[in-house]
Symmetry: C2
Subunit: 334 residues, 2 copies
């Protein structure tokens, strides 16, 4: 990589002359501009982005703070943010809060020190539980805008991108009712998350709209033996003819377990679950899935932030975007 | 949070006096040191980490560059790095290269500008294919050490953490041979990665040690219909009694497909696959897995880097660590 200094030396002019020539300054004669540009092209000179950023007081970098990197949904959102940011010439740097309020605060501080122009983040579980928002507000006050996605702090005035968790299980349950299913169960291993609770409520609403039906939920701990729990659940509740699964594994396990217990899927029991395309492949037949469009969520968050940065939007102009889930039908439903 | 300025104002001394007193400077009288420290303690004053770092020329931050955030193995390594770094009081900031050489270079430049003390990275696919190493070498030359993991550049003198891919499938295949299996197949959807090739070679070596046996490999593209390919493979190769799977999905799909074709697992066919604990749960019976200990890989990489930073190790002191896989037996083998 050739530098301004090397170009200046070779051309026997000052560094400042080279820099001004490359920026088409009128202070520099046409002939010199031409010579400088030709040599710069010959050596494939690229302006030092960091120096440029310092000058413009913009880093062209977005800080992303995510609570859990092992969560595939969050990893996919990050992927979507990264791709959209790159399309607009922005870099991203990422910190992981590990669901901790303290780490979230530290990450904001670490990056707010001139490394980034703004933040995209998903609120840590501890922060949600303690309902702490001061660190978000003071970051925004410093002139660093925040866009929140998925888990958001309602008390903070900022752009948000959210998912329709409640509606998604409500609609999935309705679609099983339309198949004529009478004993639809809800299975979840994410009962401890706010989105897990929303999903159960969506299911329950659809069931309770039919006075003759009853809710039936299997709430598993994260470290339970999910195969065993689901097997026992099927054995103790004869006649289950539909399953709505809240997490990415339970639907797939329910299908394979039903098959191994001698039920036919979807003839005897229909299954729908939140999942990704790749995991929905792990069962035979394939799982009919509620797809979250994580990459779109990421892309939307990046667009909101970049739009805000480039147009200097104010607090009176915050937006909340809902990215709707889709029901992708496959072999596990009629 | 109280600042140096506020302490100084309250004590009616200069900021510099407060700072020096807190650092036990001999320039400041004992009485003043005592007054400053008492007030600092009263207000629970914490030194500004960023300012401290600038002074000591240390950021206490590690830059991590990973090629693909949707790869669960890499996400887990990142988790391991993060946890180990936190144990030593280091932050991490992460950039994603998206398997691109250009992005990898940009990420190194972005963070090398005073944001981090050193790097932990997994080399991008494009970088490996072009065998480009100059950007690594010049980063190290600038005084920022690099630790590479999983995919490493052999021509760069630096600490490395690698996995025993070849041995792992060699041993897995041997263990199926010891069960008395005669027609063991290899199934992979990661034939395009160097680790995928190593895994196939490990399998082939174990097979070819037995002159009467033949290698039989199903290499699938990433976007193929894996269920269909595996079904056809079973149908066209009657008598398969063992499967070694190179990626996290193929073993699980092979088990569920064998069951749906009327084979008994493990009586008729034994299956072993690279996978994670959670995915191995997706088949009935559960998949016997080759477990990679991704978190240990991350922890080892962080230890190597932090040790290097804290002890100013030189180029004559580079280490390569091998983190061995384990075979975790479950229901899909005898």
């Amino acid at each position: 990589m050739v530098t301004l200094k090397q170009l200046a030396k070779e051309l026997n002019v000052s560094i400042s002359t080279v820099s001004k020539a490359l920026n088409n300054s009128e202070e520099i004669g046409e002939e010199t501009v031409k010579r400088v540009k030709e040599l710069a092209e010959l050596y494939n000179y690229k302006p030092n982005k960091v120096a440029l950023s310092l000058k413009q007081n913009k880093t062209k970098t977005i800080g992303v703070i995510i609570p859990d990197i092992l969560n595939h949904f969050l990893a996919k959102v990050l992927f979507g943010i990264e791709r959209e940011a790159a399309n607009h010439g922005y870099n991203i740097i990422t910190c992981i809060s590990n669901e901790s309020l303290e780490k979230e605060k530290e990450s904001l501080q670490l990056l707010a020190n001139g490394s980034v122009d703004g933040f995209i983040l998903c609120v840590a579980q501890e922060t949600q539980m303690k309902n702490e928002v001061q660190h978000f507000k003071s970051t925004i006050k410093k002139g660093l805008p925040i866009v929140m996605f998925d888990r958001v702090a309602h008390d903070v005035l900022c752009d948000k991108v959210i998912v329709d968790d409640f509606e998604s299980t409500y609609n999935a349950t309705k679609s099983l009712l339309e198949e004529g299913r009478k004993q639809i169960a809800f299975i979840s291993n994410i009962d401890d998350l706010s989105v897990g609770k929303l999903r159960e409520r969506g299911y329950a609403k659809a069931i309770l709209e039919n006075p003759e039906l009853k809710v039936l939920a299997l709430r598993m701990g994260r470290y339970d033996d999910h195969q065993k729990k689901i097997r026992t659940f099927f054995e103790e509740n004869k006649g289950i003819d539909g399953v709505v699964a809240a997490d990415s594994a339970s639907g797939v396990i329910a299908i394979n377990m039903a098959a191994s217990l001698g039920f036919k899927v979807p003839e005897d029991v229909s299954v729908i679950g939140f999942s990704s395309k790749s995991v929905s492949n792990h069962s035979i037949p394939r799982l009919t899935t509620i797809r979250q469009h994580a990459k779109d969520i990421g892309a939307n968050a990046a667009q909101l932030l970049i739009n805000r940065l480039q147009n200097n939007l104010g607090e009176d102009d915050v937006k909340t975007k809902i990215v709707k889930t889709s029901l992708i039908r496959s072999g596990s439903t009629l």
